[in-house]
Symmetry: C2
Subunit: 374 residues, 2 copies
């Protein structure tokens, strides 16, 4: 029995978007879903209870690379695993560290065996291989583990992307072999290939042949134009099996979430909602509100009149602005709760509109109100 299974419930007749459920050892996840990011075993500024009760999150993401360096996967294992360590009893997805390690540029060296890199904390040398990453993710005990991959930035030469993609596929095979805990943790393969469709096709087909319980689309939203991303994504998801969940990594803004779902994506994650919260910015149904700005000094309205979150039930923009201007932590907290809830509420609505075969109409309405061009 696989740890992770996917149940397709409905396909939107208007768009082809998927409505489903992912079953995990830590509960069911209604999809499409937005996953809050808890990089260092905490979703920044939030308690688990707030994630459950206010954000209504059923799965969060955590970062293998960061947890490997601090506090260390062995310490987390000793704590009883990541769920217990951080007091979160719902599902967790861990990335593979690939994105972070490859972002290090000159500070890392890639070989067939793996990647050597220097810690950003103390300059110490480390080596991550597919086997090592599986050991770390097994120690963390996440419900969904990602295979170790190379995320290539845009633009990149065809030859480099090809070699990298083929290595990522070989690494995926090694990950599958090394993964020790298949009854409790599901390992997802990651499709690479940049913006080259033949490479995406090869990557997807080779990974599908290995039969993972889920697939991620990596290496998108890394600098390429939105149209190109949408085109490559559409092409890629068509190759993936219908009975497995599909995850677009590192996305993102409300429009990217909707565009991804329209192209058959079930799962997304992004640090955006908590990052812009720390900047004094709110997501609202009428677009971004930079509540830090002087224009909100005496604005006695809630952040978003349509929102049901703790922040919108209890606080004015004027008060939140005061907290932001005086660098008070509560300001970050209130904005984080609201921004995360904005995206989970958006996805709740998206799920309803898929069921109603009405996602395209909803998209047009949402874009108009938000201020996006359709």
């Amino acid at each position: 029995m696989e740890a992770i299974t996917y149940e397709l419930k409905h396909i939107c007749k208007q768009t082809g978007a998927r409505r489903g459920v992912i079953h995990t050892p830590h509960g069911d996840i209604e999809t499409p879903v937005f996953m809050p990011v808890g990089t260092q075993a905490t979703v920044k500024s939030m308690t688990p209870e707030e994630l459950k009760e206010e954000v209504k999150a059923h799965i969060i993401l955590s970062n293998t690379y960061h947890l490997y360096l601090r506090p260390g996967n062995k310490l987390v294992k000793e704590a009883g695993g990541l769920h217990k360590f951080m007091n979160w009893d719902r599902a967790i997805l861990t990335d593979s560290g690939g994105f972070q390690v490859f972002s290090l540029g000159n500070l890392r060296t890639i070989t067939e065996e793996g990647v050597e890199f220097k810690s950003y904390l103390d300059g110490s040398k480390h080596f991550l291989s597919p086997e090592k990453v599986m050991e770390i993710e097994n120690d963390l005990g996440s419900d969904i583990m990602m295979a170790f991959d190379e995320c290539v930035q845009y633009p990149a030469e065809y030859e480099y992307v090809k070699q990298s993609m083929e290595r990522t596929t070989r690494w995926a095979e090694r990950c599958k072999m090394a993964h020790k805990n298949t009854d409790k943790q599901g390992l997802f393969g990651i499709v690479q290939g940049g913006t080259y469709k033949d490479l995406r096709e090869k990557s997807a087909k080779d990974l599908v042949a290995m039969d993972f319980p889920g697939y991620a689309v990596g290496g998108l939203s890394v600098g390429e134009p939105k149209e190109l991303m949408c085109d490559v994504l559409q092409f890629t998801t068509k190759i993936l099996p219908e009975d497995k969940p599909r995850y677009l990594m590192g996305v993102g803004t409300p429009d990217y979430l909707i565009e991804a779902v329209l192209r058959g994506i079930d799962m997304c994650d992004c640090v955006l909602p908590t990052r812009i919260a720390r900047n004094g910015t709110a997501l609202t149904s009428h677009g971004k509100v930079v509540v830090r700005n002087a224009t909100y000094e005496r604005d006695w309205r809630k952040l978003d009149e349509e929102c049901d979150c703790y922040t919108c039930k209890n606080y004015t923009r004027a008060y939140i602005r005061h907290l932001v201007k005086t660098n008070e932590i509560l300001g970050i907290r209130l904005l984080s709760i609201h921004n995360l809830r904005f995206l989970t509420r958006l996805m709740e609505r998206v799920r309803t509109e898929i069921e109603r075969d009405n996602l395209l109409n909803f998209k047009n309405e949402f874009y108009k109100k938000y201020g996006y061009e359709s």
Copy 2:
């Protein structure tokens, strides 16, 4: 009818410590009480719900000086007052700004009329007089307002302390005249006089003659030895009327709280619990725990085995240390909840021990365990 009244319920036969209740327009406060400090219309890192449910606070303190500068008392008034602005429906005490303004040293000039000072934010010039401070505190709408006083540091010359104390008394008279909202806000006088008993006596008697609904003891715990503080405090509280609450400003550590209560004090406040939380330090029944230290890296115990707070119910020292080391806001939050609860729980126990006429025994037991010398 006074806005603030005090009901004396019991005097500890062993020590003379007072057990009572302060009635305010925003609820009753069991005394002796520790008041968390919410300098800028927020108790740092906390929501009002956490203060109620986890800390079990019934009154908080906020700072007139800071709120006057940001966001401005007129804005708070427009919001419907401080309670509504910050979403706190229990009692609030505001200080007078005196402590902050006089701490400015060279940046302020004192005359009989009031104090001119420069803003630490933008260098702009401001003038605070007793009348101005009453206007600000009336705008804020706190339940308990403090009169505008000069807090003299230790050590100070007799002549200076005498002149300053006499001016503070004249200012208290002017505050009483200027206070506009006596049915909803109670104004407390502040006894000054440094460490000179004759000056303390004169200050206390003159203020008592003006008949305030409560009295603060100011200008203590400003650098003088603990023994001297205790001695002057004991002397001063004996002159104050039994039927009015007594507030020792800016105290403090667990031992200072107990010593104050032993000398007839009913109310205390201090930024210590939230400040040391931001430093990675916890108050526990066995003394301070600097959870940031390496020794707690794999410590799977709660912060304090006797504590009933959210933090102690759900998290290990090892996890809190990880959050502190990675500069995660949740670490500050968990330590702030715990430290504030530690002091409110200590005061709950102190109230019980007063009722049992057993406060001195409790003090000795607590000091031994905590590591203080009795």
